[in-house]
Amino acid sequence: MVAHPRTSMGTHGLRPLGLPREIVVVVNQLGLPSAILRGSTVLGIAQVEELWRVSEAWWRIDALARTYVRLLLDSGRLLTLFHDDQCVPDDGWYEQRY
């Protein structure tokens, strides 16, 4: 009998681009970022420019719920972060480049 021709299974090399990077954030009483820690450097936040929420596939176990914030840093640079809403406010912050 000839061996079954099925090959090993896998996702065959699709690697997502633009994956978020974990970041350490100090939050205020409202749960919004008040400072960002990058190594030993503290990045001050001048203003929260925009805030929006993304919720997808809420009916699935791996549902996705994120709160995005676009921040204006003290240095004048814009930075987009999101908080994974399944984590506690202090934890689960990521930097994401659009």
């Binding site: 996702t11 090399g13 633009g18 659009y98």
Partner: protein
């Protein structure tokens, strides 16, 4: 014994009952994906006059305690494949007549299986035990099928050529290979057993029921002329499978994956320098729903672009039943080694592409994987940035 029939009656329902055996004694109806009609039902449900084809609303009115189970075509297809493979373990000549009904030609196996019990044991051990398939062995295809139907679940029944006519004579006429309308006419004529049809003169049967009736008459006498039509040998097809966790939601991602599977399938040693006649794409959702299309090519070809040109429209206009967890691509009808005369005036672009492909092949050989990737759009509309673009291995 020349022919074996491995049978699981009502395969879709049998799969459900195999997973949930406590339902076997309850009124259960298997419905289509939209839960609009009954596809099959248990004997307990049949007592309430529930039958295949009945609208579900009527069925629940007839039996308020009816347990409704939605069909899962992918699971049924897997079970059907397992039955084919079970017979394939003893014989290379296997025909999949219908889901749950498989035949095999057993000629020439005496050396391997000198005793019949060894042969039946080999088949039944290879088959999925949960489905409790029935095995029929006989000299003709129809007799083998009836022997399988008459066998107890999980058991084998052999019918010797000399006893075939007597065995068939007492079986119900509804098992004859005839359409519903013809079977109803037989019933109105008072013919309730196969022997009743066999006892009629051949010319009378042929006059009433035409060629199908004559063939059924021959089958009823144990002289079924229907030959076995074995499926192509494994060597004539190539299968590539990709599983996805989480499942693919976007059509683009499915299309890209199939394109990559096609490239991989064409690189399999079995497909190299051979032409392809047909391509089958099967997508299975995480809920075991099935989407399947087969494209027979206008002419056999081994050219990836031409095959992709034929397959792509199927995917672009596909309506998948849900997020895709498994994708399978099969190249069928592979020809013998073939070649095509290329043009003397190949364009510069093609030459460069060939050079790059050759270089990447070298790098792959050196590093074990392709170090070159191309950027592809996956779900460009997605609100989640990491889902919009992806890198795919450039794998010529």
């Amino acid at each position: 014994m020349l022919i074996a029939c491995l049978l699981v009656p009502s395969l879709g329902l049998a799969c459900v009952l195999a997973e949930r055996p406590h339902l076997a004694s309850r009124p259960v109806a298997l419905t289509d994906m939209g839960q609009s009609r009954v596809l099959d039902c248990t004997s307990m449900a049949a007592r309430y006059n529930i039958r295949p084809g009945l609208p579900l609303r009527e069925a629940t009115a007839l039996c308020p305690s009816l347990i409704v189970v939605e069909e899962r075509p992918a699971r049924t297809a897997r079970a059907a494949e397992a039955l084919i493979e079970a017979l394939g373990t003893v014989s290379p000549l296997v025909e999949a007549a219908a889901p749950g009904e498989v035949y095999a030609d057993l000629r020439g196996l005496d050396g391997l299986y000198p005793r019949r019990d060894l042969l039946t044991h080999a088949i039944l051990v290879a088959a999925p035990a949960m489905l409790r398939p029935r095995l029929g062995l006989a000299d003709t295809r129809f007799t083998a099928a009836i022997a399988a139907r008459a066998a107890a679940p999980g058991e084998a029944r052999a019918v010797e050529p000399a006893e075939a006519a007597g065995f068939l004579a007492v079986q119900p006429a509804s098992w004859l290979p005839l359409g519903t309308a013809v079977l109803e006419r037989l019933r109105l004529f008072g013919i309730t057993t196969i022997g009743g049809l066999a006892a009629l003169p051949a010319h009378a049967v042929q006059a009433q029921f035409g060629t199908p009736g004559w063939r059924a008459w021959l089958a009823a006498r144990g002289e079924d002329p229907t030959p076995l039509r074995p499926r192509p040998f494994e060597a004539e097809r190539v299968i590539e499978v990709a599983q996805h966790e989480p499942p693919l939601i976007g059509r683009e991602a499915v299309t890209l994956t199939v394109e990559q599977l096609l490239g991989r399938a064409l690189r399999q040693p079995r497909a190299v320098r051979r032409f392809v006649r047909s391509v089958r794409v099967r997508a299975t959702t995480e809920g075991d729903q099935l989407w399947e299309r087969t494209q027979v090519l206008r002419e056999p070809t081994g050219d990836r672009d031409r095959i992709w040109h034929a397959v792509r429209p199927l995917l672009e206009y596909a309506e998948y039943p849900g997020p895709i967890a498994t994708l399978e691509l099969e190249l069928g009808g592979l020809t013998a080694e073939s070649g095509r005369q290329s043009s003397l005036l190949d364009a510069e672009r093609v030459r460069r592409r060939d050079q790059m492909d050759e270089m990447v092949r070298h790098l792959k050989l050196r590093y074990g994987l392709s170090p070159v990737a191309r950027m592809v759009e996956v779900e460009p509309w997605s609100r989640i940035p990491e889902r919009r673009w992806a890198l795919m291995d450039y794998d010529p």
